[in-house]
Amino acid sequence: MTYLTTIGLEVHVQLRTKSKMFCGCATHFGDAPNTRVCPVCLGFPGVMPTMNEEAIRLTVMTGLMIGSQISHYSKFDRKSYFYPDMPKNYQISQYDKPLCIGGGVDIEVNGVFKRVGVTRIHLEEDVGKSMHFKSASGVDFNRAGVPLMEIVSEPDMVSPEEAFNYLIALRRILLYANVSDGNLEEGNIRCDVNVSVRPEDQAKLGTKAEIKNLNTFKGALNALKYEILRQVQVLEQGGRVVQETRRWDADTGVTLSMRSKEDAHDYRYFSEPDLLPVCLSVAQVDQWRSELPELPGERRVRWMKEYSLSEYDAGVLAADREIGDFFEAAARLAVSAKAVSNWVMTEMLRLLAEKELSIRDVRITPWALAELVALTEQRVVNSNTAKEIFAELFEKGGDPAVIVQSRGLGQVSDATAVEAMVDRAMAENPKSVQDFRSGKAAAAKFLIGQVMRLSRGKADPQLAAKILESRLGASPDARQGEDVS
């Protein structure tokens, strides 16, 4: 029996605001427990929430990025449940009037493009973090009240891979719109997944399970893979899948039951009486729309046209906003956008991956890369030297021309000097000269290599080839490109 899978995701995103959702405390991560708190985010008696307008803007920007309809009337509600990490024992969230409705995210799995629908985006406050010690538990409320945006997808995904790619694509959009730091280690993005399976000849969706609080994309992928197998196994053995909430145990690689539908929470939603409804004017939303960054897809198409990049290259460069921004900044300054693209696609991405760095962390500037491209194009340096310079720029920053000069890396393009070296190479290797004259074209390559050795790699190989050619008498086979050393 073949089974079909249906997956929907609820993604929680911490927004990139300076202060919390309803008070003035900083959202900074990693401080000592309970140092970023005040009476408001601790739920003291008598405190009241005040709206963080930047959080509203960032949520709307996200909605605009994915084509949502923006609500001109939206409101907040109280969602009640008791938990030690919840200061008021209700969470201020949005129930029936979310900020954004509809929209979708484009994903690609194995070369096939697909749009995953988004049901809604709403705004709420994050909770604290429970910590368990040997004999007691504690709660760190630094996170409590951080603006949290929840993006609810349609049940449009049919495989763990699609869900995984949806998460990747969504994160890219969040980074593009600059609405979140998107840092998974700091818990900026967390998700709950809903998954069900059904025999392929059955139209009605199967009973779903919800797996809560997955804080890595790999975790979501693995949890889904496991859960689908588990549900299929239950059905294969003639059992019934029960509707329940489960959690993913990353250490053992299994999902475990938390609670069944029978003891599901009744959140008792009702309008938050301490906040006014959010009324966004058409002019306001239009203003924000005009501030939207270019979307990855739009960038890809534009770069193919403007910089004559291949679809693949443009796609890779546009996928990450910061990489793309760097590329474009350098391309605008450089004599060859194609050369910039090659540097970013190869050396840059390789070094970033190798050193596990973000482009924010490296010292090389777009201007420096454009300079390096100019030096290569003008044959001041050959490509191997250029790679060395790039590595240095990557690590330490600086001006490529200064590096060339201070380390004497410039190509020797002075004809007299190169002539002397060619003559010396011919004198030291009479056998090769003879071989060439007797028709072995490869001997010229060897001789150029000797010139490069004598010049410690700095001789302009094309100039050397030209001189050698005139010394030996024309032979097209002896013509050398770059990179003979």
Binding site: P39, F44, P45, G46, V47, M48, M51, R268, D274
Partner: protein, 481 residues
């Protein structure tokens, strides 16, 4: 003027201080002496910090000596125990907040502090403002200063008893369904519930957020106008506070009643109400007519639904507002909990009193899925209709006159056994909260047993100047009790 007089008002005290006839230290000392003398009998206060009071008085005297002035510089104000004052306890009359010391000032406290007021003590109240007699306090039973066997009303019973009993010049209270006006009526002082949003609620421990308002309890109407002028206005910390200009309430007090259109809602004069109360109120209405007001009967047809709507909306909001009292972060925590849920259960079972539990359970029930539409949503619709009643009435009236309560103060313990009887006593006060309008309670006589009766003056939203003007004119026309 006798500093210990139970008639000394804020504006008189300010005059005495300004004229140098007395110091803030003398004023505070005489007040502390009065509390020492009477509070053993009245039980208005839960907490008095004599040392802090005298220290603040000393600072105020020094500032005055330097030529500084301030609306209330050196004047002590009593505070209901549900308002946060930095460094003071704030128990809300509940065991569950025992040990909590407030780390911040409520919006109104910050404003009065700016004016130079002294905060020296906290007045008793029904636990979390749930009650109409102050008998629901976890700590003590406050007695009516006019008659020790009778309740002072509630939930701001401590504030009203302190003001009427000579233990405070003025006090702050809170009114969710009558909690300022009714105790003011029972004790014989002035009580003002401002319009919803007129005064910042920041720092008022919430009972029912869409109904709560902070207001003054004072010895005369002018003091109510004075205090309202200081505490009213927008506060960025309370999004529901209104960003509209605050008029000079004291300036319009003396404009008289000529040309004022006053309505008498016929639903507020019904069979079953106390005959002496009705007679006093009708007499007060007659006085207003003689002062030049034009009086006519109006109708507020949805009045009879107000109690039901109120107890659904208020308890629904309360069930979430009081969820934070769980023993995790502050206040009382019960011992012996085996896990968080068990700890919550024990803490809340031991920490809350019977009436609070009753309202939390009721509020939880009306918000539950499957019941929400039948109760909460219906109550909200009724609220809209009740508000519309007032809007219509105020199209032809500047204010409405009515009793505050259908009865005068009752005996301690008399209505404890039957909560519904107690709830029904709020029939004339809760509609004002549901509609978000303002209401003033002014003494209008007493029963033969010596129990005060209150006249309620209701005005449109943000027209406190109307009710204060009427209250002032009426008060002037008759001697103080």
């Amino acid at each position: 003027m006798d500093l210990s007089s139970a008639h000394l008002t804020l504006h008189e005290a300010v005059q005495l201080l300004d004229a140098g006839h007395c110091s803030s230290r003398e004023l505070v000392a005489s007040l502390l002496a009065a509390i020492k003398a009477h509070d053993g009998r009245i039980n208005a206060y839960l907490y008095v910090d004599e040392e802090a009071a005298m220290a603040q008085a000393e600072v105020a005297d020094a500032r005055r000596a330097r030529g500084e002035r301030g609306g209330l510089l050196g004047i002590p104000i009593a505070v209901k125990d549900n308002l946060n004052v930095k460094g003071q306890p704030c128990t809300c009359g509940s065991k569950i907040l025992q040990g909590y010391v407030s780390p911040y000032d409520a919006g109104v406290i910050a404003r009065l502090r700016e004016e130079g007021a002294i905060f020296f003590g906290r007045t008793n109240m029904d636990e979390f403002a749930m009650g109409s007699s102050t008998e629901n306090s976890a700590f003590k039973v406050t007695h009516n200063p006019r008659h020790p066997d009778y309740v002072p009303g509630g939930s701001s019973g401590g504030s009203a008893a302190a003001v009427a009993g000579g233990e405070a010049l003025a006090a702050l209270g809170s009114d969710t369904g009558g909690s300022i006006r009714q105790p003011a009526a029972f004790c014989g002082c002035v009580g003002l519930k401002p319009s919803y949003g007129r005064v910042s609620r920041y720092g008022l421990t919430a009972y029912a957020s869409s109904l709560d308002q902070i207001g003054p309890l004072t010895r005369d109407v002018k003091d109510a106008a004075l205090l309202l002028g200081m505490i009213a206005g927008h506060d960025v910390k309370d999004s529901t506070s209104l960003n509209v200009p605050v008029p000079d309430y004291c300036a319009t007090l003396t404009e008289g009643l000529r040309g004022m259109r006053i309505g008498l809602p016929k639903e507020y004069f019904v069979a079953g109400m106390d005959a002496e109360v009705e007679a006093s109120v009708r007499q007060a209405v007659e006085v207003c007519r003689q002062l030049g007001a034009e009086v006519k009967e109006v109708t507020l047809p949805y009045t009879s639904y107000a109690i039901a709507a109120y107890y659904i909306i208020a308890t629904a909001e309360a069930s979430t507002n009081l969820a934070r009292f769980d023993g995790v972060r502050y206040g009382f925590r019960a011992q012996g909990g085996t896990d968080p849920i068990d700890m919550y259960s024990r803490t809340r079972a031991e920490g809350f009193g019977a009436e609070v539990k009753r309202r939390i359970i009721l509020g939880t029930y009306v918000l539950s899925s499957g019941y929400y539409d039948a109760y909460y949503l219906s109550a909200q619709k009724l609220r809209t209709l009740i508000r519309r009643d007032f809007t219509t009435a105020f199209e032809t009236c500047d204010a409405l006159l009515a009793p505050v309560s259908p009865t005068p103060a009752y005996r301690l313990g008399e209505k404890n056994a039957d909560p519904l009887q107690m709830y029904l006593g709020d029939i004339f006060t809760v509609p004002v909260n549901l509609a978000g309008i303002c209401g003033l309670s002014v003494p209008c006589g007493a029963t033969r047993a010596g129990l005060p009766v209150g006249l309620q003056i209701m005005g449109p939203a943000c027209r406190e100047e109307n009710v204060l003007r009427i209250g002032f004119a009426y008060e002037r026309s008759r001697p103080r009790i």
